[in-house]
């Protein structure tokens, strides 16, 4: 069973000619089939955790370990991590002009699966996945994220999640900027992947709203660069009622 283990992770970032520590010792274990919600106020380091796991060059790991099935994730390049089974659905997916969605998806699936998917079954697979996410087929011929609305970008991220079938999915504020309908469609996509039981999910969010659609097994409150409290789904209800104030007194980082 695939397991992502994060131990005492410390991460810094360079900003304004100064080195700033954002993650200050994160411990977390996510097993295949489990869903962990990471909640916390702005600036608590949630997104830094997501991007550090994916290997974004902006972040420097200064301590700790991350392993996926015992393999050292921190030693891997960004593309190696993806091929090892890590997937990051981004909060702000970037535009890639000149590259069509269909070409991008096929190139990505070829890289992750280790061989080019058979054309006939692939076309069908993509078409059906797009239908489930209420995406217009014309979407496939547009350039990656170019001119996409906020909701289209998030659907496109979840489309990739469904097609790439990772072992560990990190969803970075996938709910932000979505109206209720889009949130429902996107959540259903995530749930389809979860129901296979083959993915561990790290759901990073600021709001409890998405947890009505995606039921977490565990909820962690992130504050000041580490996990301040962990519990079951009931912890989300407490946050809904009381907010993050109890966790931010110590002074959140930017």
């Amino acid at each position: 069973m695939a397991t992502l283990e994060i131990r005492d992770l410390h991460v810094t970032v360079e900003a304004d000619n100064a080195t700033k520590e954002i993650l200050k010792g994160v411990d977390l274990t996510v097993k295949q089939g489990e869903t962990h919600a990471i909640m916390g106020p702005n600036g608590s380091g949630k997104s830094t955790l997501a991007y550090s796991l994916a290997g974004h060059p902006k972040y420097t790991i200064t301590g700790g370990t991350v392993t996926l099935d015992g393999e050292d994730v921190l030693e891997m390049s960004v593309d190696e991590r993806a091929r090892a089974g890590l997937f990051l659905a981004m909060q702000y997916p970037v535009e890639v002009p000149g590259v069509s969605v269909s070409n991008f998806l096929r190139t990505s699936a070829t890289a992750v699966r280790g061989e080019a998917p058979k054309l006939r079954t692939w076309v069908k697979e993509v078409k059906e996945a797009m239908e489930r996410l209420n995406m217009d087929p014309a979407f496939a011929e547009r350039n990656v994220n170019e001119g996409f609305s906020g909701g289209e970008k998030k659907r496109h991220e979840i489309l990739q999640l469904e097609l790439l079938k990772p072992k560990m999915a990190i969803l970075d504020e996938t709910d932000s900027g979505l109206d209720v309908d889009a949130l429902r469609v996107v959540s259903e996509g995530v749930n389809r992947v979860r129901e296979t039981g083959e993915v561990g999910t790290l759901l990073i969010t600021h709001y409890t709203r998405i947890l009505r659609y995606i039921k977490p097994d565990y909820v962690h409150v992130f504050a000041n660069g580490r996990i301040a409290e962990s519990g079951g789904a009931e912890l989300a209800d407490k946050l809904e009622a009381e907010g993050y104030e109890a966790y931010t007194k110590g002074g959140a980082s930017e």
Partner: protein, 394 residues
């Protein structure tokens, strides 16, 4: 790439639409067009038409010190049956009909060449295979002139392929008879040290169609002047260009479309990718719509993709309109960057760095490459792009 977004540091994208009685394209040149090199002062680098060009790398083509070596640059023509291939003296009346040199190097080439090549496709002859002109440098210096003439309703594809190492100043005249269709692919696939300067004039007959692909990859310095004028109404010009400018290379394309007669069309699309320190691409796109040219339909576009730091693009579209009785006129220029965030996004989907770069650059050039229609050139071009990207990633 959004319009004029992400302009890399050190690059310019400027444009203007002038509605003027006096053409600023004409007045900003340092001398009127002429076949005689003596009519042009030696440029010092501050002239409008020379300000982007590193004169010290022209190997004397601009100041009279470059001397033809006699051999060292080979020109071979391979033409299908029905085509007339000749080498003629300077006094042949067919030379220089498509246009007059507009700068000193073009005039130098015209004043210095000894023999000119003339290729004629007789009227109503429709070729199924391309005419191939191979210009191969073996370290020599050459002044050249080539005329390609299509009779009425003739159809041909011409590939001019520049390879090797040379210092070359050469002009090309394309003369299209009424209703003729000419596609020209000029490939500048030079070795690293080559210098190539030339003016390519097309004179488009009534209802004739001219399609040009200028593909520039190699050379230390390449500076080309593709120019179009119309001999009668109903002419169409499509000017496409691709360039891949590497570290240290200077690649300059200066286009002019002169809508001098009514009811003609022009469409200009040039796309360039740049990588490496001191890679410098220059694109000048001048379109004139003269007072007589009612019913003109024109559009010009330049797109640049900067792949690394240290590269520079200067892109200057310029449209001058002397009549409002036109179908359409527009221009666009944008320089975008392939940045770390795009690379991260693609790599985060499992795509290795080299494949990610190739995906982006192929995507960027694809719409133009697919239109060339000469399979071996298309393949070579994509192969070349892959090769240059590999070199940069390694």
């Amino acid at each position: 790439m959004a319009e004029a977004q992400n302009i890399p540091v050190g690059s310019t994208t400027a444009g203007q639409i002038a509605v003027a009685a006096e053409s600023t394209v004409a007045t900003r040149m340092s001398a009127p067009a002429s076949f005689d090199v003596a009519d042009f002062p030696v440029p010092h680098g501050r002239e409008e038409e020379w300000r982007f060009t590193p004169l010290e790398r022209l190997r004397g083509l601009h100041d009279g010190t470059a001397v033809a070596t006699g051999d060292g640059v080979k020109v071979d023509v391979d033409a299908p049956e029905g085509v007339v291939v000749e080498t003629v003296g300077r006094d042949d009346a067919r030379i220089g009909r498509a246009g007059t040199p507009v700068d000193r190097v073009a005039a130098q080439a015209y004043s210095a060449f000894e023999k000119a090549g003339v290729i004629t496709v007789p009227k109503e002859t429709v070729l199924t295979e391309p005419i191939r002109i191979a210009v191969h440098g073996e370290g020599g210096t050459r002044f050249g002139h080539q005329v390609i003439e299509l009779g009425a309703f003739a159809e041909a594809v011409v590939v001019i392929d520049h390879t090797g190492d040379a210092v070359l100043a050469a002009n090309v005249d394309y003369v299209l008879g009424d209703g003729a269709k000419l596609t020209v692919v000029s490939v500048q696939d030079w070795d690293d040290k080559a210098v190539h300067v030339g003016q390519h004039n097309a004179l488009i007959g009534r209802d004739a169609t001219f399609k040009s692909f200028v593909v520039t990859f190699g050379g230390d310095l390449v500076r080309l002047h593709p120019r179009v004028a119309y001999a009668g109404p109903g002419g169409e010009a499509e000017l496409f260009g691709l360039y891949f400018t590497d570290a240290g290379q200077h690649q300059e394309h200066r286009l002019l479309v002169d809508h001098n007669v009514p009811h003609c069309k022009s469409n200009v699309v040039y796309k360039g990718a740049l990588q490496g320190d001191d890679a410098h691409a220059v694109w000048i796109g001048d379109v004139l719509i003269e007072a007589a040219a009612e019913g003109t339909d024109t559009y010009e576009m330049n797109r640049n993709l900067v792949l690394t730091d240290g590269a520079r693009v200067d892109s200057v579209p310029n449209l001058e309109i002397e009549t409002g009785e036109i179908v359409g006129a527009g221009h666009a220029s944008a320089t975008g960057r392939f940045d770390d965030e795009q690379l991260f996004y693609l790599m985060a989907r499992g795509i290795p760095e080299l494949d990610a770069r190739r995906l982006v650059v192929h995507g960027f050039f694809a719409e133009l490459v697919q239109q060339i229609g000469v399979a071996d050139i298309e393949e070579r071009l994509l192969g070349k792009i892959a090769q240059e990207l590999e070199a940069s990633v390694a």
